[in-house]
Amino acid sequence: MNWISNVVPKLSSFLNRREVPENLWVKCPETGQMVFHKDLEANLHVVPGSGYHMRMDPTARLRSVFDGGKWYDIGLPAVAIDPLKFRDEKRYVDRLKDARTKTGAQDAVKVGYGKLEGLPVTVAVQDFGFMGGSLGMAAGEAIVTGLETAASRGTPFIMFASSGGARMQEGILSLMQMPRTTCAIQELREAKLPYIVVLTNPTTGGVTASYAMLGDIQIAEPGALIGFAGPRVIEQTIREKLPEGFQRAEYLRDHGMIDLVVHRHQMRPTLARLCRLLMRAPAAAGEAKAAVKPTEDKPAEAPALPAPAANPAPASA
């Protein structure tokens, strides 16, 4: 990669951002209400009137979880690019390049390590904005790395899932991420460390049929679409309209498929509470328990990981 390919994407995304004024106002998909983007950001991307949970990019998500909005990025291994030499209406390598330019990320999953109410945690976030959050080799490797990091550092692993499913352009190698991520979950389980899944809108396909449904605790955000097959495929199969609320977070909870539906404003304290209980850590001090409003500061993202801190011992020790 030369300096031009490094600079041009950044430059164009910078220019694009300035040239698109409609980005300033965001429409609520449910009510049509218009919200100023700063207000939306300040409200953790929940539409103030309707309570609709908009998508959150990985950086905003990590900022909303970690103490003081600060964390360390976990370095993710490089994977083979387009081993299938896949081409549909467009070459896969070009689609990948576009997605990287658009998001500024290498692939759909970002992993951070930091503190949640003082407790060290490892958190992975899947970005629906990157090719529909699809699970390919890079995302699979990122999740495996995240789980292994959590296991070796003795922290809980929190997975914010969001995906349309497998990355079809990687064919069978994308399917193999289902057992591969499950292998890493088993390692975490053997280390007796908690695995908490937060299902966000939407999570479907091979992602729900693997790591996104194997949490010790399954949480979903309100209204999130969660399922194996997409609603359109099911309608085509059964040739009927689907009932109201089908495959939504609340429906899954009522059918015994998930533990909790948690509003985004309550996510951080809920996660902290569950992690503390599962890690048998003492209760947090009153002050830290309060939900922290997201800050405007840039997170301090260090290039390398610090030496592991004195992590609390796993519950089994």
Partner: protein, 317 residues
């Protein structure tokens, strides 16, 4: 009357001519046509071999789905003795798309699991065309746990277009059932061997195909989504299924090259449906050889080897 696939037309013509000659020979003039018959037999055989040595991915898809291709129940009676299908997931119901139970394979007690597509209109409906609901995967989990407790190797025969995309299946947690089944495969302290005998369709296949040894019949396919599904999503045109099949790398030969499977089981000339007995015998030999390689390994070693095998997939491409 043999049924031919569209691309088998040249062979069909030769064989039709052959039939005519044979009928004539039967009526008397044996001496005159004897040579012609022999010559034509050779020609038909060569044409068939030539054709099957160069099948395209979409032609292989047709062969893999051939209605006369041996199915689970054929294998169960040809290769196994004392097989009693065991019913039910002990939670909701009994699924007929996934069958399984205890059996004897070449002298040793084993647990046999697999998808049955059915071979007549009636049985196809009964087995839901091999598309399992959550009950099927939960039955598979139950059987795997049983096998683990009694130290019986698990043999899976995979033949499904995918898990059933229906309302009831979603309601009862299709995604979770698949995820747990993959998890169960990876937890086994006994050897497991999976054979893709026809179609290995996505999550519905991987749920029982996460094994110490994964084998594929020569003309079977294994993919993250059906070629038709990929065509409709990526090309927005189901007529592009051939192109999708080509791009996705779904053949046994491709998958061996990507180290996703361990070996390819050769089929008789003209595919398994032309000589089911020979195809099944070869499959039996391959299963026996695979089990032989895993004999004497301790439960922990089997789990470790399985995990390492899957984690290694894609890392050296």
């Amino acid at each position: 009357m043999r049924s031919y696939l569209d691309f088998e037309k040249p062979v069909a013509e030769l064989e039709a001519k052959l039939e005519e000659l044979r009928a004539m020979a039967a009526q008397g003039d044996a001496v005159a046509i004897g040579d012609d018959i022999a010559r034509l037999e050779g020609k038909a055989r060569d044409a068939l071999l030539q054709l099957y040595a160069n099948l395209s991915p979409s032609q292989k898809t047709q062969v893999a789905r051939h209605p006369l291709r041996p199915h689970f129940s054929d294998y169960a009676s040809a290769l196994f003795e004392e097989f009693d299908p065991l019913a039910g997931d002990r939670k909701f119901g009994d699924d007929h798309a996934i069958l399984g139970g205890l059996a004897r394979f070449r002298g040793r007690a084993v647990c046999l699991i697999g998808q049955e597509k059915g071979s007549s209109t009636e049985t196809r409906i009964k087995h839901n065309f091999g598309m399992a609901r959550p009950e099927g995967y939960r039955k598979a989990v139950r059987l795997m746990e049983l096998a683990d407790r009694f130290s019986l190797p698990v043999i899976s025969l995979v033949d499904t277009a995918g898990a059933f995309p229906g309302l009831d299946a979603e309601e009862r947690g299709q995604a979770e059932a698949i995820a747990r089944s993959t998890d169960a495969c990876l937890s086994l302290g006994v050897p497991n061997v999976a054979v893709i005998i026809g179609e290995g369709g996505s999550g519905g296949a991987i749920a029982i195909a996460t094994a110490n040894r994964v084998l594929m019949l020569e003309h079977s396919i294994y993919s993250v989504i059906s070629p038709e599904g990929a065509a409709s999503i990526l090309w927005r045109d189901t007529a592009k299924a051939q192109e999708a099949a080509m791009n996705m790398k779904i053949t046994a030969q491709d998958l061996l090259r990507f180290h996703v499977i361990d070996s390819v089981i050769p089929e008789p000339p003209g595919g398994a449906h032309r000589d089911p007995e020979a195809a099944m015998r070869a499959t039996g030999d391959a299963i026996e050889a695979a089990l032989g390689e895993l004999d004497g390994l301790e439960p922990a070693a089997l789990r470790k080897a399985r995990r390492e095998k899957f984690l290694a997939i894609g890392r050296n491409l």
